[in-house]
């Protein structure tokens, strides 16, 4: 047990199995206020499962989960909504919490879908729906945001803008974020802590530490390393006081 007030969720050797098949095991991580923790790993490596363990969706788990907040915003990877329900975007926004109209408008404006407020949820495109999902998660001003591939199906410019937004929200709300992303670019530039999964924790640490790890390279290949080196190259110069660029 720790007395750190900033911790929102803590997993200790957590794992989940269906009968004898482990979906993920031995995961230890903690999410703190104002920090972004990212899960990376190939398909089927247990990223979403880990998120669901942290959220308390899976209850019969191995290991321990300590959750210190109930103000949670969740953007699931897959969401199957029964379209026989008459449900407008504004009804969906207040699904788990009653919000003031201005809070709904603000969140929908931030993700660029305010014009869809009165539309039926079933009539939205994939990208539009994804933006509504993000708006819903942030509108309740949560302590903890869990984003499972939040920008899937969003157009390229929107993707960048949404990631910027997510970063901004972390700073403004001082909330903790658990992010699952395939976009290593984003992971490397915006994350405080990376956990690389492949059924278990391969490696974890700062983005730089993880990128240097051999297991990470083995999982993602040389290309992933290239992304990192490009990222590193942004820092291969310094700006002098005169505004000139000076090579190291």
């Amino acid at each position: 047990m720790t007395s750190n007030q900033n911790i929102l969720v803590k997993l200790n050797q957590a794992g989940f199995r269906i009968k004898d098949k482990w979906l993920v095991k031995g995961v230890s991580l903690q999410i703190e206020k104002g920090k972004i923790v990212t899960l990376i790993g190939p398909n089927g490596s247990g990223k979403s499962t880990t998120a669901k363990i942290a959220l308390g969706i899976y209850k019969k788990i191995d290991g321990e989960v300590e959750k210190y907040t109930n103000k949670v915003g969740y953007v699931p990877q897959k969401i199957s909504i029964d379209w026989t329900l008459p449900l407008r975007v504004k009804d969906f926004m207040v699904l788990t919490e009653n919000l003031k109209d201005e809070d709904i408008n603000e969140a929908l404006s931030l993700t660029g879908v305010i014009q869809l407020k009165n539309k039926n949820l079933g009539d939205l495109s994939g990208g539009e729906f994804q933006r509504v999902l993000i708006a819903r998660a942030i509108s309740k001003k949560p302590d903890l945001l869990v984003l499972d591939e939040p920008v899937q199906g969003v157009d390229f410019t929107g993707e960048i803008a949404l990631y910027k937004l997510i970063k901004k929200i972390t700073d403004e709300l001082n909330c903790g974020i658990l992010l699952i992303s395939h976009d290593l670019h984003t992971v490397m530039s915006a994350t405080d802590h990376v956990v690389c999964l492949n059924g278990h924790v391969c490696c974890s640490g700062s983005p730089m530490d993880v990128a240097k790890n051999n297991e990470y390279k083995a999982l993602f290949g040389e290309q992933a390393f290239q992304i990192l080196s490009r990222y590193e190259h942004r820092h291969d110069h310094i700006h002098t006081n005169e505004g000139e660029i000076k090579k190291n």
Binding site: I57, N70, V72, I79, T84, P86, L87, L95, T96, E97
Partner: protein, 267 residues
């Protein structure tokens, strides 16, 4: 003018419609119509029990229906049979057992038709009291669990992740279903209660764009069905249950016409 028994039936029917409206919406949204049927079929067993032990019918039906719901949950956990097979098993076996028990109770004269299809002549002042106390109670509880129940109807994992406790809401909803069946069985009859739950709600779905408006239209549709159905029942001397359900079917068909018109307008 109007007979006392008719006024009693009207008051009872309207009380039932106010409750079946919102519950029926959830039955449709959560795809529970066969589950409602199962609980209703098991109600016969509750009725026979009430006669044998000289017990209040509504109370006894409530107990048996809740019990069947519990057994269903246990069977779902312990067997690999699909849900609809389990529901069919419970529905028909409890109906059969109920009918067999009736066969043994030769000393009591049963109005089987009344049990199956409802009987407005049978509505007493006590029944009205049970409906108008039990009904608002069901609505109150439904209002309290609305948020978690509705959220988990839309998406279970979202509700669970964001701390709403959907499992508890689902369990309470099951009890509410047993409750509405218990208070409406005399009036609507056990074969037709599910119709009372789903037809006004289905009608409402056709003409509403939000969950709230669907609930309101569903209640209004139910109230109108009761009034129309009971007057027909009085006029043509038909059973109350089928008359009410037929009236709700009529409203459902009207709502379909409305859809056709709006599609035409769009094009």
């Amino acid at each position: 003018m109007l007979d006392d028994f008719f006024i009693r039936a009207l008051i009872a029917g309207l009380g039932i419609a106010i409750v079946t409206g919102p519950l029926g919406c959830f039955v449709i949204w959560r795809r529970l119509s066969y589950f409602g049927d199962t609980l209703a079929h098991s109600a016969l067993l509750g009725v026979t029990l009430a006669y044998t032990l000289e017990f209040n019918i509504a109370f006894s039906v409530f107990i048996i229906s809740s019990l069947i719901a519990l057994i269903l949950i246990q069977l779902q956990k312990r067997t690999n049979l699909p849900g609809d097979a389990l529901l069919g098993l419970l529905a028909h076996s409890s109906l059969a057992v109920g009918l067999v028990v009736i066969g043994f109770l030769t000393f009591i004269r049963f109005d089987i038709m009344g049990l199956l299809f409802g009987d407005i002549l049978a509505v007493t002042v006590d029944d009205i009291l049970i409906i108008w106390i039990g009904g608002p109670l069901i609505l109150l509880v439904l209002k309290l669990i609305w948020k978690p129940l509705f959220a988990s109807t839309v998406n279970y994992e979202l509700a669970e992740a964001e701390g709403l406790n959907p499992d508890r809401a689902k369990a309470i909803f099951t009890i509410l279903m047993a409750g509405i069946i218990a208070i409406s069985i005399k009036m609507v009859g056990l074969l037709l209660i599910t119709g009372m739950l789903i037809i006004p709600a289905a009608m409402a779905r056709n003409i509403s764009s939000s969950p709230q408006s669907m609930v309101i239209y569903s209640i209004l549709g139910g109230l109108l069905s009761v009034v129309l159905g009971l007057f027909t029942s009085l006029e043509f001397n038909t059973s109350s249950g089928p008359s009410i359900i037929a009236a709700s079917l009529f409203l459902f068909i009207l709502s379909l016409l409305n859809i056709k018109q709006s599609i035409k307008l769009k094009n």
